[in-house]
């Protein structure tokens, strides 16, 4: 973890239980809003002239909203999630919780932030302390959320049930249970603190297919029952389609397309989104070979212009070599695309 994380949590002088509701019973606060604006993240030591690791124009999370950040390695999606958690310090732009920039949160406000916004990390095997029993881990979350020690075991039992784990698992240690059970335990711990927003980083990677489905079902159920807001970082389009209303597609640190999930996946407007959609293998659907880059692709200046040009089947010089802006498309106001050729290309059928 980068030492950029200033510990924003300070104990109040009285150390008394705060006014916010205890973990499990707490309902999400309507006022919970996590907003990133004009976010720019560069990793320390990188060339300032080179493209940033992440450039995100705007992202807002609130209870009830579910947003997906889709992209492959190097897309910046995990960086975005970590910036929203305050683990990574942006080089420019802001991340605000309840209207206050994260680095300015102190005391009770900082605690409220940590309780309201919980991550589910990608590393399933490392996310739990190997020396701590699962029940103790969940109880730790409950206490961190302001719960009383005497209520701990009842809360643990309730949460285990909520995530579909047998109560006997409370005594077990992480290495004694399966990967799927570990992931559920991690979710239970996150829920114990009473969050309104869950930020999930590839929550199903490394798990068997049947297990993945169950975990997704669980997340969906929790989202509905608790009214949670979700940020799902994933390259798994199936998970995205299932859980998120809105999808943001990232490629090499840039937003290339964004809009309502179903529309975006059915009729992508950006060639990368189409390539992504096309690459996802599906049962009963004949194999779709990836499309080759266009013959002109090599001539396009991808440093100044479109970063996907070198792989794009529709790349054309010089238009694609110019800086590309996010433009609204399709008229309904929710879809934007970063592709100068998008209007003329029309809806790209990924299945062709």
């Amino acid at each position: 973890m980068s030492s950029a994380l200033e510990d924003p949590v300070e104990r109040s002088p009285s150390g008394a239980a705060p006014a916010s509701p205890q973990g499990v019973d707490g309902l999400p606060d309507e006022g919970v809003r996590l907003v990133a604006r004009a976010l720019l993240v560069r990793y320390p030591g990188t060339d300032p002239a080179a493209p940033a690791a992440l450039a995100l124009d705007e992202l807002e999370l609130a209870p009830g909203r579910s947003v997906a950040l889709v992209g492959e390695s190097g897309s910046g999606k995990t960086t975005a999630l970590r910036a929203l958690l305050g683990v990574v310090r942006p080089s420019a732009g802001t991340v605000e919780f309840g209207g206050v920039a994260l680095e300015r949160l102190r005391g009770a406000a900082a605690r409220a932030f940590r309780r309201a916004v919980q991550p589910i990390q990608q590393d399933v095997d490392g996310a739990l302390d190997p020396r701590q029993s699962i029940g103790a881990a969940i109880a730790e979350g409950q206490r961190a959320g302001g719960g009383a020690a005497r209520d701990a075991s009842a809360v643990v039992e309730r949460l285990l049930d909520e995530v579909g784990l047998p109560a006997s698992l409370a005594r077990r240690h992480p290495h004694e249970v399966s990967g799927g059970q570990r992931q559920r335990a991690v979710i239970a711990r996150a829920l114990a603190v009473g969050p309104s927003l869950l930020l999930l980083d590839e929550p199903t990677s490394g798990l068997d297919a049947t297990v993945q489905v169950r975990i997704l079902e669980l997340i969906e159920r929790l989202r509905v029952q608790r009214g949670l807001g979700l940020l799902l970082v994933s390259h798994n389009l199936g998970a995205v389609a299932r859980l998120c209303e809105e999808t943001i597609v990232l490629y090499r640190g840039e937003v290339v397309e964004r809009g309502r999930t179903r529309a975006l996946l059915d009729a992508p407007r950006h060639p990368y989104t189409a390539a992504l959609r096309r690459s996802v293998p599906e049962i009963g659907v004949p194999f779709r070979a990836p499309l080759s880059p266009s013959p002109n692709a090599a001539e396009v200046d991808s440093r100044a212009g479109c970063r996907f040009a070198a792989r794009c089947p529709h790349a054309m010089a010089p238009a694609c070599g110019l800086p590309q802006a996010l433009m609204p498309i399709d008229g309904d106001g929710t879809r934007v695309v970063r592709c100068v050729r998008a209007p003329e290309l029309g809806a790209l059928n990924p299945l062709a």
């Binding site: 973890m1 030492s3 994380l5 510990d7 949590v9 300070e10 104990r11 958690l85 683990v87 900082a110 605690r111 940590r114 309780r115 919980q118 991550p119 990390q121 590393d123 490392g126 996310a127 739990l128 302390d129 190997p130 020396r131 701590q132 730790e140 979350g141 961190a144 959320g145 579909g164 784990l165 047998p166 006997s168 698992l169 290495h175 004694e176 249970v177 399966s178 990967g179 799927g180 059970q181 570990r182 992931q183 559920r184 991690v186 711990r189 603190v193 490394g206 798990l207 068997d208 049947t210 297990v211 169950r214 975990i215």
Partner: protein
């Protein structure tokens, strides 16, 4: 040639409580005690070390009862029986003051081993918090602390101990202090390394993101996971401290007469090795056996607790 999660990892929520391969221990049939005995028996070195340590423990506790001449470990002298060879009343002979060597060796266990334990514990008390703090916090504070530790580490430990004992005056307490001063930086460094490695783990970050204050995360998550190699090193060091303490006493900078400290006893028999060798031999053998036993015990612990071999050899 295995794939991603090809370790036994079955679907969760299917009702079956299947388990993944465990961490350290072999889970076989039989009781915990049975497994422990089986474990020890397969390792002759560990078995020997453990046996000797048990004998030493018994000796330390029961010294007043087992020693034929308990007073000889104190102020009693018996010049008429000076320098008796082993045999009869005195199984290991007598020293220059007529004191029974066997009794003195027996009482010496308390001193040598007792002081060593105290020294190790004290060194841990200083070194572990410093290392934990530096490792958990990182950054410039970490650098600063480690530079200070480096300064201490730069001194050859025995010389440092000598200097301190010489300055403060010879006594057991001063020798112990001297050893602690030269010993704690090793633990600090070792702890700092472990803590720094664990600081980056996902569960540490998760705890911080739950809102748990950093100090509590350090104590509850970093310390327990980091302490393994340090425990191993400490148990190995027990043997080393016994030797160092004996060395200081031998040089006159540690225990003083009539304390039955083994190193001191060796010194007292130093000039007599050709004519009355038993005076130095038996205390010397005791030093060697005790140091060996603890070292073997430590090695056995290392195999269990620190399989990566991070502790200093």
């Amino acid at each position: 040639m295995s794939g991603s999660g090809d370790a036994v990892d079955r679907a969760g929520g299917r009702g079956s409580s299947s388990t993944a391969p465990g961490g350290l221990g072999a889970s076989g049939p039989g009781s915990a005690l049975g497994r422990f005995i089986g474990y020890v028996v397969r390792r002759p070195g560990l078995a020997f070390g453990l046996a000797i340590v048990i004998v030493l423990a018994v000796g330390a506790v029961l010294a007043p009862v087992l020693a034929p001449f308990p007073g000889d470990a104190g102020n009693d002298t018996n010049l008429l029986a000076a320098l008796q060879p082993p045999g009869g009343l005195h199984p290991l002979g007598t020293d220059l003051a007529g004191r029974d060597i066997w009794s003195r060796v027996l009482f010496g266990v308390r001193i040598s081993v007792g002081v060593s334990v105290v020294v190790i514990v004290a060194s841990l008390f200083v070194g572990v918090p410093v290392g934990l703090f530096a490792g958990a916090v990182g950054g410039k504070l970490d650098d600063l602390l480690m530079r200070i530790v480096d300064i201490f580490l730069a001194f050859p430990s025995l010389l440092l101990a000598l200097a301190i004992a010489a300055t403060l005056g010879p006594s057991m307490e001063h020798a112990a202090i001297a050893i602690v001063v030269s010993w704690w930086p090793w633990y600090a460094r070792l702890m700092r390394g472990e803590a720094a490695a664990i600081r980056g783990r996902a569960y540490v970050e998760a705890a911080l993101l739950l809102g748990i204050p950093r100090w509590r995360v350090a104590l509850r998550h970093i310390l327990p996971n980091a302490i393994g190699p340090i425990i191993v090193q400490a148990s190995l060091d027990l043997g080393g401290v016994i030797l160092t303490f004996a060395a200081l006493s031998f040089l006159g900078l540690g225990a003083q007469d009539p304390t039955p400290e083994w190193g001191l006893m060796v010194e007292q028999g130093r000039t007599l090795t050709s004519t009355q060798p038993w005076v130095a031999l038996y205390p010397g053998a005791a030093i060697m056996i005790a140091a060996l036993a603890f070292t073997l015990l430590g090695e056995g612990l290392r195999e269990r607790l620190d399989p990566k071999g991070l502790a200093r050899p």
